[in-house]
């Protein structure tokens, strides 16, 4: 509850943030909404020398649809996503997932980019960006784009290098007939996901599955795309039997987390049940 002393600087724009970051290197931490970093600092689990506040950079906070793609600035708050008319229409998975995140205060301050870069193994957004097969745009000395499934490396670890800032999340706007769903089993203490399942289905004219994205969080040290589920779904009739069969692959080959509340075995079981339920809801929404 009593952090170390640290310096604070609010970056005015992305370039300033990048140059501060390259100057202070490991001594610096980027401050977005602060809902993961500040608690860690209060327990002295994180002890940065300097905080570079990027939450005030207006250019990093936006939700746009351009050329068939949806682009979300990294400093967009959970609440902005939850309340976005554009997303409610074009990609309701995001607003739905946002309602599962923390509480109103957290959603008002916390940002999607901050959450993704923190890579908490039980955070909600990672499952969502995996299901959407999103691209993450990373600013640095040179800008690069990385697929969501390459972004999460491990427990609290991402593909971000020192000196880089996650700038944007972008993905193709769902087209035609699609169904999405986020389902979550909340940890009773933390509210984080014991399991969190994000589903993004595209359905063809014949009612068959054209493509499927299934992102899973909370189950293993890093969020993952349930590729076994996705490939089982593709081309299937999306009937009850197909969904159950596909969902059985939700935790294939996963080394599941164990904590005081739930063992790895139980988590894997929950992953299957919640995947099936999320698929059922997504299919029912694919009108």
């Amino acid at each position: 509850m009593i952090p170390n002393s640290f310096d604070y600087v609010a970056a005015k724009n992305l370039d300033e943030a990048l140059s501060l970051l390259s100057k202070h290197k490991d001594d610096a931490k980027l401050l977005a909404g602060g809902h993961s970093l500040i608690p860690a600092m209060k327990l002295r689990l994180a002890q940065p020398q300097i905080l570079i506040d990027i939450s005030r950079i207006k250019d990093l906070s936006y939700i746009r649809e351009e050329g068939g793609r949806i682009r979300i600035g990294a400093m967009t708050t959970h609440y902005q996503i939850e309340s976005s008319d554009l997303l409610r229409r074009a990609c309701p998975l995001l607003p739905e997932a946002a309602t599962h995140l923390g509480d109103v205060q957290v959603r008002n301050k916390g940002t999607i980019g901050g959450s993704l870069a923190h890579a908490d193994p039980a955070a909600d957004w990672p499952a969502v960006v995996l299901a959407l097969d999103a691209e993450l745009v990373i600013a640095g000395k040179t800008e690069r784009v990385i697929k969501a499934d390459k972004f999460f490396v491990g427990l609290f670890t991402t593909a971000l290098d020192q000196g880089e800032i996650l700038r944007e999340i972008r993905f193709p706007a769902p087209k035609g007939r699609f169904g999405q769903c986020y389902k979550k089993f909340r940890h009773p203490a933390s509210g984080f996901a014991v399991v969190g399942i994000a589903v993004n289905l595209a359905v063809d004219g014949g009612g068959k599955c054209e493509s499927a994205g299934v992102g899973i969080t909370g189950v293993s040290p890093k969020p993952y795309s349930a590729t076994g589920v996705e490939s089982a779904l593709k081309g299937s009739a999306l009937d009850g039997k197909a969904l159950t069969a596909a969902a059985a692959h939700a935790a294939d080959g996963v080394n599941a987390n164990t904590d005081l509340f739930a063992s790895g075995e139980y988590r894997k079981h929950l992953a299957e049940v919640y995947t099936r339920r999320a698929l059922e809801t997504a299919v029912s929404r694919a009108k």
Partner: protein, 793 residues
């Protein structure tokens, strides 16, 4: 007494300041030049402390002083334990660890610096050379030997105590059957919203120490801390400012309180310590912590012949104020609301390498109720009877009160059947049972749990209490007619600023807004006992009532004098004294002799002014208008009720969903139904916590793994179902208002109902009992195992 306010849903006068953030908790009190203290605490559960090197820390910027156990042990008395039990082994509990650390969080040193941050930075620089020792974590195993905590005792057994009446052996023998069950009552953390905090200021000229501390017992704390510091009690002013909840955890005397006072005296500057949440979970008392074995003898018709409870009670490493006494309260309440001819409790109190246990909302009684209610359910299950039928079979009838139990208590009043019937009616019990069996056929798992409880409140007669069981009140009417109540109780969320004002406003016929209730400052309020054990209203409120009656006698004499009437001829109604014509004639009161005829009526405000101006008082009357009353109750009170929980279990995941929650509580007469509802709701929520979520967990090294609120699950709003609350009202004759107390009813009545509902839902799988907290995974395992067996469920 008019009942303009009594019984009304009066909104709390406390709330506007709380809601607006305008209240003053310890941390809101700012004094110039205040220093800040941070504690270095043991990172091991059991370790010899070889050296504590503070040399680097002393050099850190902003550091003013550092004290270790060696510096203070001889100067500050031991942390007190007020429980007196035969052959009790009382460890020497110093304010800082000296030779050994006994639990994770045990304070070893305190750093005092110009601010909290500097103090914490310096505390991180202190080098402690530990020699780790083997740990004792389980109370049952600890009793059987292994490593010893307090070597001077040669054992970890702090005490053994047997109590109860009736021939238990004969009772069990005479039974048709005897069933046995191991029952756990897990350790819980009270988690008051406001953690502990202390601010100490010493004026060397006046030799006066003022301590602001977040406590439930300001006067008892003053006495004990003065003794620890070796200073005159009347030179220590102790103030409990706004206190953000306690649940029993602040019914205590803590090392930090005395130490902060001592430091302020050494340094001559104010010093403040505000507990972090992590410290709060480590080093504020825990509750419950019992491993027990029950034996119940019963007849084929469901009559219980005897109950034995052999219990290992987890004391933790040291005693706090009431640690060893808590399990004895379990013993007192083992009869529940039943006629059980023979009861025996055998307590083994055991030291473990954990924080001390002590009072936590209910304090020993939730454990007792849980034991009895589980026992009745087990009997019902064994006999294939409805749990309601078995309960009815064993309940005393309303005309059997006062009812004597085999635990030595006399229950004051009760109508257990009445509350049960009302709860059954509200829930539509038989209909719910029908739905349950229909649902089972569809493969759904619905369970119904019924708990009928009685609790012991209004603690209590002084004979039964370690340090006085009375409560005090002073009521003053100021010259302007405003009413001031000084109560020795110390409300910290219960709302007595409102309910005591309701009492006074009705008795004195004044507006409730003209009444102010003051509490918590030992320099302002006469000695009192404090708020715990659902006592503040039944004992403290009664003191207010009697003080006002006393004050009214004097006011009546003054009023009669002002009206030139005989005092026997004066009536008092809605704040006005008047000469009752009939009585005046009968008494032959003198007709107006003076030229100006005396007033025919005077208000209580007129009387108050006259009492202070003192120009026209009856002969030999003291000026002023105040009265003090110390109320000694002749018995405890015994509220009761019935709670019914209906749950549905998700067969696939084991998740528990409340379908209904019905509670009918009887706390005697109700002063403010809004406050009573709030108390019951809060209590039920904490019961949901114990039944489903909460558990203080130490790993096998004694590390506290549930050490933050990210791991320790206090129920959130989303975990709480709609609560259908109702009441029956059976007054007590222990006090004139007929009030019993309701602060702990929810935590006592609800836990067994919730557990019973889950067990009932899982009964098709042969489940008879489950230990708390009942997690979805546990249920899932039962169901998935059951489904592997052909024919099950």
């Amino acid at each position: 007494m008019s009942e303009k306010y009594f019984g009304k849903r009066q909104k709390r006068t406390e709330d506007p300041r709380l809601i607006q953030g305008l209240a003053h908790y310890v941390d809101d009190i700012k004094l110039p030049d205040t220093l800040h203290a941070v504690f270095l605490r043991s990172i091991y559960a059991h370790a010899r402390i070889k050296t504590v090197d503070t040399s680097e820390a002393r050099k850190a910027p902003g550091v003013v002083a550092i004290y270790t156990g060696k510096d203070v042990s001889a100067k500050i008395g031991a942390v007190p334990c007020a429980a007196a039990l035969p052959e009790l082994k009382v460890p020497d509990h110093r304010v800082l660890a000296t030779n050994k650390a006994y639990f994770v969080g045990h304070p070893i040193a305190v750093v005092v610096a110009e601010n909290r941050y500097a103090a914490k930075d310096a505390a991180d620089l202190i080098q402690v050379d530990y020699e780790e020792l083997p740990v004792v974590l389980n109370e049952e195993k600890g009793a059987q030997g292994g490593p010893i905590l307090h070597e001077q005792f040669g054992t970890n057994i702090a005490y053994k105590l047997t109590s109860g009446e009736g021939d238990i052996e004969a009772a069990l023998k005479s039974a048709d059957k005897v069933l046995k069950q191991k029952i756990l009552n897990q350790r819980l953390a009270p988690i008051a919203m406001e953690p502990r905090g202390v601010l100490a200021r010493y004026y060397p000229g006046e030799q006066e120490l003022t301590l602001w501390t977040s406590t439930q017992i300001p006067h008892l704390a003053r006495t004990q801390i003065a003794l620890m510091l070796g200073m005159p009690e009347n030179k220590l002013r102790l103030i409990a400012p706004e206190v953000g909840g306690g649940f029993g955890s602040k019914l205590n005397i803590y090392a930090e309180e005395a130490l902060l006072g001592w430091i302020a005296m050494q340094l001559g500057r104010p010093v403040k310590w505000i507990e972090t949440r992590r410290e709060n979970i480590q080093a504020t008392v825990h509750g419950r912590g019992q491993t027990g074995y029950i034996e119940v003898g019963y007849k084929k018709d469901g009559t219980v012949t005897g109950l034995r409870y052999n219990v290992f009670a987890d004391m933790g490493a040291y005693f706090q104020l009431l640690t060893p006494a808590i399990p004895t309260l379990t013993g007192l309440m083992l009869s529940g609301c039943y006629r059980i001819p023979a009861i025996q409790i055998n307590i083994t109190g055991v030291f473990t390498n954990k924080m001390a246990t002590d009072a936590y909302r209910g304090a020993g009684r939730p454990e007792a109720t849980y034991v009895v209610e589980r026992a009745l359910d087990l009997v019902a299950a064994e006999l294939g009877k409805d749990p309601v039928e078995v309960r009815r079979k064993n309940m005393p009838a309303p005309n059997e009160f006062p009812f004597k139990t085999a635990t030595g208590l006399f229950y004051d009043s009760g109508n257990y059947e009445g509350a049960l019937q009302k709860a059954l009616d509200i829930s539509g019990y038989s209909k719910v049972r029908d739905e349950q069996s229909r649902a089972r056929k569809e493969g759904r798992l619905i369970g119904i749990g019924v708990s009928t409880y009685v609790e012991i409140c209004a603690l209590g007669p002084s004979q039964a209490m370690p340090a006085g069981g009375w409560e005090s009140a002073t009521v003053r009417i100021e010259p302007t007619g405003k009413v001031t109540i000084l109560t020795g109780a110390s409300p910290h969320g219960q709302g007595q600023e409102t309910s005591f004002a309701q009492i006074a406003a009705d008795q004195l016929g004044v507006n409730i807004n003209d009444v102010t209730v003051i509490h918590g400052d030992t320099a302002v309020v006469q000695y009192g006992i404090g708020t715990f054990g659902s006592r503040a209203t039944a004992v403290g409120g009664t003191a207010v009532y009697y003080a006002i009656e006393k004050l009214k006698e004097k006011a009546n004499r003054i009023a009669a004098h002002l009206m030139e009437a005989g005092s026997g001829t004066v009536t008092f109604k809605e704040g006005r004294f008047a000469v009752e014509a009939a009585k005046a004639t009968a008494a032959g009161a003198p007709a107006a002799a003076s030229a100006v005829s005396p007033p025919k009526q005077v208000t209580i405000q007129d009387v108050a002014l006259a009492a202070h101006l003192a120009k026209n008082l009856p002969p030999d009357t003291e000026p002023g208008l105040s009265a003090t009353y110390f109320f000694e109750p002749k018995n405890f009170t015994f509220p009761f009720g019935t709670h019914i929980a209906v749950v549905e279990i998700d067969r696939e995941t084991g998740e528990i969903d409340f379908q209904r929650y019905v509670a009918v509580d009887d706390c005697g007469k109700v002063i403010n139904p809004l406050l009573v509802d709030g108390q019951v709701q809060g209590g039920i929520v904490q019961s949901i916590g114990q039944a489903l979520y909460e558990e203080v967990v130490y790993d096998d090294q004694g590390q506290l793994v549930s050490g933050t609120l990210m791991d320790y699950a206090v129920p959130k709003a989303a975990h709480v179902p709609w609560l259908e609350l109702d009441r029956t009202e059976t007054p007590t004759d222990v006090n004139p208002m007929g009030v019993k107390g309701v602060g702990e009813a929810g935590t006592i009545g609800a836990t067994p109902a919730i557990v019973a509902a889950i067990v009932d839902a899982l009964s098709p799988y042969g489940v008879r009992h489950l230990d708390m907290p009942i997690k979805p995974e546990t249920i899932w395992k039962i169901i998935s195992k059951g489904q592997q067996k052909p024919g099950a469920a």
